[in-house]
């Protein structure tokens, strides 16, 4: 093989980069230095302060501007003669279709979420363009090569399912801080400041629903002439006091559990709070303040250090103050708010509420810094790993351009050396013959065809599980449903009607034995689903009331991958866990404890690597040991990588 550095293929290459974030900035720089003449970048994000510690093409003055464009301008300063085409857009936008992808010699992913990765994988398969995929978390990183027919596709290996918690764990029996965060963020925050009409399990399910439900719903409405402070205290007493009492009344539930302690505001805070001066000043100056974007309960209470763990009283004060600030200073937004990790006041409210609930259930309290990480599903990221991974991506990209199939490698960046290696290359795997994406292997769906509606199938299976955005559903030659801009009016009506119909009552009935054909027109991806009728489902374990099998998806794996805001994932009744699990309960100081397990989740049957991989796993045993003790047997890891355990002895052949 000729020198990588002087490969003639670089000069004629046209490459597509998806993502201009942590990996993207490094990648664009390395591509430019290596002599790539024509680079297109897609990124939908704008620049934020917390990007600046590693996305070195961006400055403070760029905050708020589109990443793709600013990255281009920064690169042109030191390599003015290359072509860089930025797109400030979502890669799932229909304009990035198969024809768009076909113009590139290779696609390089620097993405941060599973959904977009799957989407790009399918487009690359349809356009027959090689894909180099990457991911990092903390000091760990990975680069893989996906070439149609030669190596496995991105979806050949099981992917983590979005982690969800049983509803009752969140609403009634939290045992970990993360449960309190999910409750505060997805239930309480949404109930108070979000869409009021959304289904919400906030009130504890008690035996006699009838008696309490009417009263409970009223409790969240601010009464006429009710002072904001009084309203806040009433909400506080309702959710931390009353609801806990109701839950306690169901004694059966607490036989084997520690009983929670109802907390009322009068027990924690004095009746008239003396330290409200700051607030009064602020609210009297509301007119001037309304233009200020950052309103902070911490600031008005004089709390400074994000890393401190506040006690129950401090959290209670933050809770009431944040509630008040939302209602007074941000009244226009109330009713439409969704939680955003960059919204300081929202983070303060959720952190305080979660901590008060934690205190009630005897769960250790956490700092705002930690709570923000959990609630915002914040990925641990450092510049060095991104730089290393970007270098490895370019090396693989050059091999792909040279069609040097034997040289393709997937590479792991390790935190602790294995077989003396910090960077461990492994030969890529052949395509998985049971992959429903690149081998079109049919899937099986168990569903109650006499109860589930077509809408349930579209939302919970087609969109959430199969990752399709522009689906078309057929039985034989009959069209049941389709999404598109150019549909005729009567068709749209027809489809809308179909959505509300139970499967067995559709114009072309879907019953046990039916083969459904589901297609995504943008991804040019089709899959067949064989339907099996089933009467009953387990309410806790199978809340969707449907079970899809044959999907390369591992059950109950943490999916920290889905922290992107786009394309909201799960629609199941179980609460989606778009939060990261806390690391250990003890210290912020521990280095990337959770992430280590990527490799234990990556054990693969490959003669050459198995030894090395085992080393990695055993090397982490000490940490895991501790972790298991601390966080019981659930999978609590912050797994950002995109490679996951094989179902079992899936023997892989090395590439020829």
């Amino acid at each position: 093989m000729a020198s990588l550095q002087h490969s003639p293929s670089i000069k004629d290459a046209k490459v597509l980069m998806v993502g201009a974030g942590g990996i993207g900035c490094e990648l664009l720089k390395t591509l430019a230095l290596s002599g790539f003449p024509d680079i297109h970048i897609i990124d939908m994000d704008t620049i934020e302060v917390s990007n600046l510690n590693r996305q070195f093409l961006f400055r403070q003055s760029h905050v708020g501007q589109p990443k793709a464009k600013v990255a281009r301008d920064a690169i042109l300063k030191f390599r003015p003669h290359i072509n860089i085409t930025p797109y400030h857009a979502n890669v799932k936008d229909p304009s990035f279709n198969v024809d768009f992808f076909k113009q590139f010699n290779v696609v390089l992913n620097g993405l941060d979420n599973l959904d977009a990765r799957r989407h790009v994988n399918r487009l690359c398969l349809a356009a027959d363009v090689p894909l180099v995929e990457s991911g990092t978390t903390g000091f760990l990183g990975q680069v893989t090569v996906h070439v149609k027919g030669k190596t496995e596709c991105y979806e050949c290996q099981p992917k983590p399912a979005p982690k969800s918690y049983p509803v009752c764990t969140i609403t009634s029996t939290p045992s970990k801080f993360v449960h309190c965060i999910v409750w505060a963020k997805d239930l309480l925050f949404t109930k108070l400041f979000g869409d009021k009409n959304q289904d919400n399990d906030l009130n504890v399910r008690s035996g006699d629903v009838a008696s309490s439900s009417e009263h409970a719903d009223d409790a969240f409405e601010q009464r006429k002439d009710e002072d904001v402070g009084d309203y806040g205290r009433r909400i506080y007493d309702h959710v931390f006091g009353h609801n806990i009492e109701v839950a306690l009344s169901n004694e059966e539930a607490w036989k084997n559990r520690n009983k929670p302690r109802p907390i009322y505001s009068k027990d924690v805070l004095s009746d008239r709070l003396p330290q409200q001066n700051g607030t009064v000043d602020r609210s009297s100056a509301t007119d001037n303040l309304s233009s200020l974007p950052a309103v902070s309960a911490m600031a008005s209470l004089g709390l400074k250090n994000l890393q401190d763990v506040w006690n129950l009283m401090e959290n209670s004060r933050v809770f009431l103050e944040a509630l008040k600030l939302f209602l007074v200073n941000r009244a226009q937004e109330v009713g439409n708010l969704t939680f955003d990790k960059d919204d300081q006041l929202a983070v303060e409210f959720v952190s305080a509420a979660a901590n008060i609930r934690a205190a009630s259930f005897g769960i250790p309290l956490h700092s705002l810094f930690e709570a923000k990480g959990i609630a915002g599903n914040i990925v641990h990221a450092v510049a060095t790993t991104n730089a290393i991974v970007a270098g490895l991506i370019v090396i693989e990209a050059i091999k792909v351009l040279e069609k040097n199939t034997d040289a393709y490698r997937m590479t792991y960046c390790l935190e602790h050396p294995s077989k003396k290696m910090l960077l461990m290359p492994v030969e890529p795997f052949e395509p998985n013959k049971s992959c429903y994406v690149c081998f079109k292997t049919p899937l099986t769906l168990e569903i109650n065809t006499r109860r589930s509606r077509l809408r349930d199938f579209v939302e919970k299976i087609v969109k959430a599980k199969l990752g399709m955005s522009y689906p078309l559903i057929m039985v034989g030659h009959a069209l049941l449903y389709e999404v598109g801009d150019d549909l005729e009016e009567d068709m749209v009506k027809n489809y809308a009607a179909n959505l509300e119909k139970v499967l067995s009552e559709l114009p072309s009935p879907v019953t046990g034995g039916t083969i459904l054909q589901v297609e995504d027109l943008q991804q040019e991806f089709t899959c067949n689903i064989s339907v099996k009728h089933r009467e009953e489902f387990d309410e806790e374990k199978e809340p969707d009331e449907m079970v899809l099998s044959g999907l390369t998806e591992a059950p109950s794996m943490a999916k920290a991958d889905d922290h992107s805001i786009e394309n909201g994932g799960s629609t199941s009744n179980a609460l989606p866990a778009n939060v990261t699990e806390p690391k250990m309960d003890v210290e912020v100081e521990e280095i990337s404890v959770g992430t280590e397990n990527i490799y234990s989740a990556q054990k693969r049957k490959l003669p050459e690597v198995s030894h090395a991989t085992k080393d990695v796993v055993s090397g982490d045993e000490t940490r895991n040991h501790k972790r298991v003790q601390k966080l019981d047997d659930e999978d609590d890891d912050v797994v950002v990588m995109f490679d996951h355990p094989e179902v079992d002895n899936h023997k892989k052949q090395r590439l020829q």
Partner: protein
């Protein structure tokens, strides 16, 4: 940093005896009496009547700097209500060195990786960097982004096309050069990456700088210098009363090498749930490369031998580092033969094809720079923060096989 920072044991020692507030304070004061400066980092008061106090780190003043060792962390459960505010103030008074809000916001994502304490140590570290080529440019970018205290650059060359090739810190615009050195131009770019890091330039010949100069730094990174200069600076650093972490880094074609000398390095790590104190002894560069080749394990990276052959050639011929071309290959192969004979090593351990690649590619391969500069950045961050196993004592990367390998080349016994 002129104090010794003690890294706490992560497992709190719960002392049920300390049930009174006064006892806690007495104990804390007794630690002060021993010369310790404690930093009380956090106390959790989860129920209104109990307070947990953790001494997260402690500093022993006037001991050799940069010497992280272990001090057990303490945790008390105090059964007194409402004293946490007092403790809070106490904590703040003892540590006026908390990260600012601005720092917490900027470094949010990495603090989640290595913790606030490591971030604080980074912000107080001073790094000297010599030889601004592509790999070092990558390294500088990484540590400036990470938020070290200061970076001092040494490179008096003027900008040439070669200097530009893999270095993204130099804009290709002659109008900004104006007789300025590579270090000065790179410094301008680095300053923009992170306004909280102080970037300065030192002019002069690195080999002429005395001990006083090196004493100002916690980390010294040398690149593009002859083996002789590297050894000289390594020894100057060794003679200082404080420990200076010494690194060399070089990249040729798509290959690179990192050498590390942390002298006697102590750190903590977890083993079977216990925190154990580790100590590693590093050899000097001179001692490491004089280990006879025949006593090295059979599988030592071929790059190690190839780099030594090229180094010997440049030294024998009186060349500057990197001043070697394909025309020198025959003479180089002759030297290889001689060295291998002296060292009783089969020449196949130093393949001709590898030597040829190394002398042909005078220019660095940018992706290899990114990888090697990234690994070096990571190692320097580890050494400053005292967290994680540092590599001992050579690292090699070859883009052709993609392996990033650690080699321990020393006569010293491995990790105790």
């Amino acid at each position: 940093m002129n104090s010794r920072i003690l890294q706490p044991n992560m497992r709190p020692l719960t002392s049920p005896n300390f049930t009174g507030f006064s006892n806690v304070i007495r104990f804390v004061l007794s630690l002060f009496a021993t010369g310790a400066r404690l930093r009380i980092f956090r106390f959790t008061s989860f129920l209104s009547n109990s307070i947990e106090l953790k001494v997260v780190s402690a500093q022993l003043t006037s001991v050799r700097a940069f010497d992280f060792s272990i001090f057990s962390s303490l945790s008390f459960f105090v059964r007194f209500p409402a004293i946490n505010h007092y403790l809070y103030r106490l904590g703040l008074n003892m540590d006026g060195e908390e990260l600012t809000e601005q720092e917490t916001a900027l470094y949010d994502r990495q603090i989640r990786v290595w913790g606030a304490d490591a971030q604080r140590r980074l912000s107080k570290s001073h790094i000297l960097v010599c030889g601004m080529k592509g790999t070092v440019a990558e390294f500088c970018k990484n540590i400036v982004l990470a938020g070290v205290g200061s970076v001092t650059l040494v490179d008096d060359r003027v900008v040439t096309e070669e200097a530009l090739s893999a270095n993204f810190l130099i804009p290709p615009d002659e109008s900004v050069y104006g007789g300025r050195t590579v270090a000065e131009i790179c410094g301008d770019s680095l300053r923009e990456f992170n306004p909280m890091v102080s970037v300065s330039v030192q002019k002069g010949d690195i080999s002429s700088f005395g001990g006083d100069f090196f004493d100002k730094f916690n980390v010294v990174v040398i690149s593009c210098c002859s083996a002789g200069t590297k050894k000289l600076i390594n020894d100057k650093c060794r003679k200082l009363s404080k420990r200076v972490a010494f690194y060399t880094v070089d990249c040729r074609d798509s290959c690179g090498e990192i050498f590390v000398d942390l002298q006697s390095y102590k750190y903590s790590k977890k083993k079977l749930g216990e925190t154990v104190e580790c100590e590693i002894q590093y050899p000097r560069l001179e001692d490491a490369i004089s280990v006879p080749w025949k006593v090295l394990p059979k599988k030592v990276s071929k790059l190690y031998f190839a780099m030594r052959v090229i180094e010997s050639f440049e030294e024998a011929e009186g060349r500057k580092a990197g001043e070697i071309t394909i025309g020198d290959l025959p003479a180089l192969l002759k030297l290889r033969k001689e060295i291998c004979e002296t060292q009783s090593l089969n020449e196949s351990h130093v393949p001709s094809i590898l030597l040829e690649r190394l002398v042909m590619g005078a220019r660095e391969f940018p992706p290899a720079c990114a990888v090697i500069g990234g690994i070096l950045g990571q190692e320097v961050i580890k050494a400053i923060s005292g967290k994680g196993d540092p590599l001992k004592n050579f690292f090699f990367f070859d883009a052709m096989d993609g392996k990033g390998i650690i080699e321990d080349i020393s006569n010293e016994p491995p990790n105790k």
